[in-house]
C-alpha cells in the first residue's frame, strides 16, 4: 500500500468524520433550542401540510429568493441544481452494480459540471460588480466560491484532460467504504480534486454552508400559523405561567 493511498484514505475518513459529527452536533443544537414565539412570515400556511409544501418550494425552487432578486436566483439555481446532478452522478463511484437511474443521468451530470461553474461565476461576479454585495463580502465568501470553483474545474479537467483511471478510482472509493483499501491512482489533478473535496467536507459544519440544514429550522418558514388556536410555549418560558392570575 503506497503512502499516498494511506494518506488519502485517512484524509477521507477524517473529513467524513468531521462532516458527519460536526453537522450532527449543529443539527442537534438547532433542534434542541426552543423557539419561544410563533414568528412565521405571512401569508403563512395554517396546517403542517402547508408548511411542508412551503418548505419544499423554498428548498427546491428558492421561492423567496425569486421574489427578491432574479439574477441571484438564476445563478443560485444554476449552481445548486447542477451541484445536485453532479453529486448524483458521482454516486456511481460508490455502488456496484450501478443503479439504473444513476447510469441514466450520467450524460446530464456532465453538462451539469459546466453549468455549475457558470452559476458560480455569476455569483462571484456579483461580489465584485454590485457595490452592496461587495460591501458585505468577507474573505471567507471568496474562498468558499474559490473552493467550489476549483473542485468543479478540476473535476472537468479530469473528464476532459488526461483520462483518469476510473476503474482504479472506483476501486479506491469502494475500498474506503468496505474498509478494504485499494491503491489510489497517483494523478495530480485527481489528487487535487479529492483533496479539495475532503477540505469542503471538513469546513462544511463551521461555515456558512450551514444554511443547508439551517433553512429547515428557520422559524419564519417552518412554523404553522396557528397562534390563536394552539398555545405555543417554550420549555424555558413555561416557568412564567407560575403564580399568575
Amino acid at each position: 500500500m503506497s503512502a499516498l493511498t494511506v494518506t488519502y484514505a485517512l484524509l477521507f475518513y477524517a473529513a467524513a468524520a468531521v462532516f458527519i459529527l460536526g453537522l450532527a452536533y449543529r443539527i442537534w443544537l438547532y433542534a434542541r433550542t426552543p423557539a419561544p414565539f410563533k414568528i412565521p412570515t405571512p401569508p403563512a400556511p395554517v396546517t403542517r401540510r402547508g408548511v411542508v409544501l412551503r418548505m419544499a418550494r423554498e428548498v427546491c425552487l428558492f421561492e423567496s429568493l425569486y421574489k427578491a432578486n432574479k439574477w441571484i436566483w438564476l445563478f443560485a439555481m444554476l449552481f445548486h441544481a447542477a451541484l445536485v446532478l453532479v453529486l448524483l452522478r458521482h454516486l456511481r463511484y460508490f455502488q456496484e452494480p450501478v443503479w439504473t437511474w444513476v447510469g441514466l443521468i450520467q450524460p446530464f451530470g456532465l453538462y451539469a459540471g459546466f453549468v455549475m461553474v457558470v452559476g458560480l461565476a455569476g455569483l462571484w461576479a456579483r461580489r465584485f460588480l454590485v457595490e452592496r454585495v461587495r460591501y458585505i463580502t468577507a474573505p471567507s465568501d471568496h474562498l468558499m466560491l474559490a473552493l467550489f470553483a476549483a473542485i468543479g474545474l478540476s473535476g472537468l479537467a479530469l473528464k476532459y484532460g488526461d483520462r483518469t483511471d476510473i476503474v482504479a478510482l472506483k476501486a479506491f472509493a469502494l475500498g474506503l467504504m468496505r474498509f478494504d483499501w485499494q491503491p489510489l491512482p497517483a494523478e495530480p489533478v485527481l489528487l487535487v480534486h479529492l483533496a479539495l473535496v475532503a477540505l469542503l467536507m471538513a469546513v462544511f459544519p463551521f461555515s456558512k454552508l450551514l444554511h443547508a440544514p439551517g433553512v429547515f429550522f428557520s422559524p419564519t418558514r417552518n412554523q404553522v400559523d396557528d397562534a390563536r388556536s394552539r398555545r405555543h410555549l417554550a420549555r424555558w418560558a413555561a416557568a412564567f405561567d407560575q403564580g399568575r392570575p
Partner: protein
Amino acid sequence: MAAPTFTIPELKDDLAIPAIAAGAMAHSRPFVAKPEHQEPLGFPGELVEGWHDKAIAKMGDLLGKSRALRVFLDSCVKCGACTDKCHYFLGTGDPKNMPVARQDLMRQVYRRHFTLAGRFFPSLVGAKDLTREVLDDWYSYFHQCSQCRRCAVFCPYGIDTAEISMAGREIMDHIGMGQKYSNEIIGKVHKFGNNLGLQEKALRATLESLEDDMEEATGVRVRIPVNEKGAEVLLVTPSADFFASPHIEGLMGYAKVFHQAGIRWTVSSYASEAANFALFVGSYEQMHKIALRIRQAALDLGVKRIVFGECGHAWRVAYSFLNTLAGPWDFLDPAYPAPQHICEVTYDLIQKGVLAFDKSKNDDKVVTFHDSCNVARGSRMGEEPGGQFRIPREIIKACCNHFVDMRADTIGEKTYCCGGGGGLLTDDLMELRVKGAMPRMQALKEVVTGRGVTHMAAICAICKSQFSKVLPEYGMDMDMIVSVHQLVSNAIRIEPAKTTATA
C-alpha cells in the same frame, strides 16, 4: 420645532436603490435611558463594570433560548438578496442599514465568541471582538431597525433582522445601555396601565367628552364604557386612540360599530393600552408582564371576548404572542378567536348585514391603504392566510366609493414600514424617521399624482403618528392620514340604542 438640519430625500418617479454612503447615519442614536428608566424594569442604571463579559454571557443565554437567533446567525450566505429591501437603507444609503450588514454587527461578535472559525481565523470570516466601538455601532444601528420584517420576506432562509435587533437591544438593556424612549414607556405601562400615564379619572373624563361630541354630531348617544363589569367585549386599544387625531376618530368608529351591533363592551383603565413596547426591546419578561394586565382585566371584568383596536405591533403581540404570554383563554367564549381584531369584528358584522353605510359620506376622498408592517408580516386576520390584507380593504370598500391600491411591491407582504415603528417614534430620531419614510412616501406620491388619491388609511397608532409628522416634510398634508375606523365612523348609519342590547 427647529427646522431639520438634514436634507429631506427627494421623491422620484421610481424608487432608486441608492449608492452606498458609508457612515451616513453613524451619528443617529436615540437618547440613552437614565437610571430612572432602567431600574424599574430591573435593568442596570448605566453601563456596568465588565459590560463586555456580561454582554457575551447574555448573548450565550439568548442563543440557548431562541432557535431563530442561532439559526439566523449561522445561516446567512451573504447573497445580498436583502440588501435593497430595508426602507432605512433606501432612505439613507448607509450600508449598515442593509439588513445583512445590520445582522453582521451581531454576527461578527457571535463568530468571535461562539464559533471555531471566528475564534481561530477572525479576519477570514469577519469576526470581531465586542469593543466599545462595536457596542456604539450596535446602539446606533439596532436603533435604526423598525423590526418591520420586510427583509425576512425576501431572504432565502427567512432570516429576520428584527429578531437580531431585538436580541441586540435586550443585551444592551442588560448591560445598562437601554433606550430611553422605549424603557420609559414600558415603565409607564407597569405603573399606570398605559403608555401615556393616563389615570382612570382622566380617562373617564376624556371618553365622556367624546360621547358628547358624537351625540352632538349624530344626535345619538354612543357610549364608550369604562370598567363595566359583565360587558361582553373588552376592547384593548392603543392609548393614542384616547387623545390624538386621527386615532380618536378611529375609536369613535369602534364605538359606533359596537353600538349599532348592540354588543356590550368596555375599555379597562387597568389595561388601557394595547401597545406592548417590550416587543421592541426583545424582553420576554417585560412583554409577559404587560400582557398579564390584559388577562387580569379580562378576568376582573368577566368579559367573554377580547378585541384589539388599531395598532400594528400590538396586533402582532396579540395575534401571535398573547396566547403564549398570557393564555390559555379558556374562560372566554370559544365561538370567537381570542383575541380578535376590531377589523375582524367589523368585517363579520358587515358580512352578516348588521351594519349599513352611507358611502357618499366619504365621497370627498380617494383612499389608499397602508399595510402596517406588523399586521402584514407579523400576524393574520380571519381564517385564511392573507386575511390581514383583504379584510381592512374590504372594510374600506364597504364605506368608501373610491379606493386605490399603491404599487404592488409596496403593499401586502411587501409593504414598506412607515419609518417610525419598532420603538423609533421619538423626536431624537427624527432624521431617521423622515428618511426611512421615503419609500412609503414615494409610493404614496405616485398614486396621489397618478390616481388622485387624497387620503391614506392605516390601522396602526404608530403609523398614524409617524405619518402625521412626516407627510408635511414631503410636501403633503398631515390630514391625509386617517384611521380605517374613521372611515367607518363617517359612513356608518346609527340608530338610538335598543334598550335590551345583547350580542
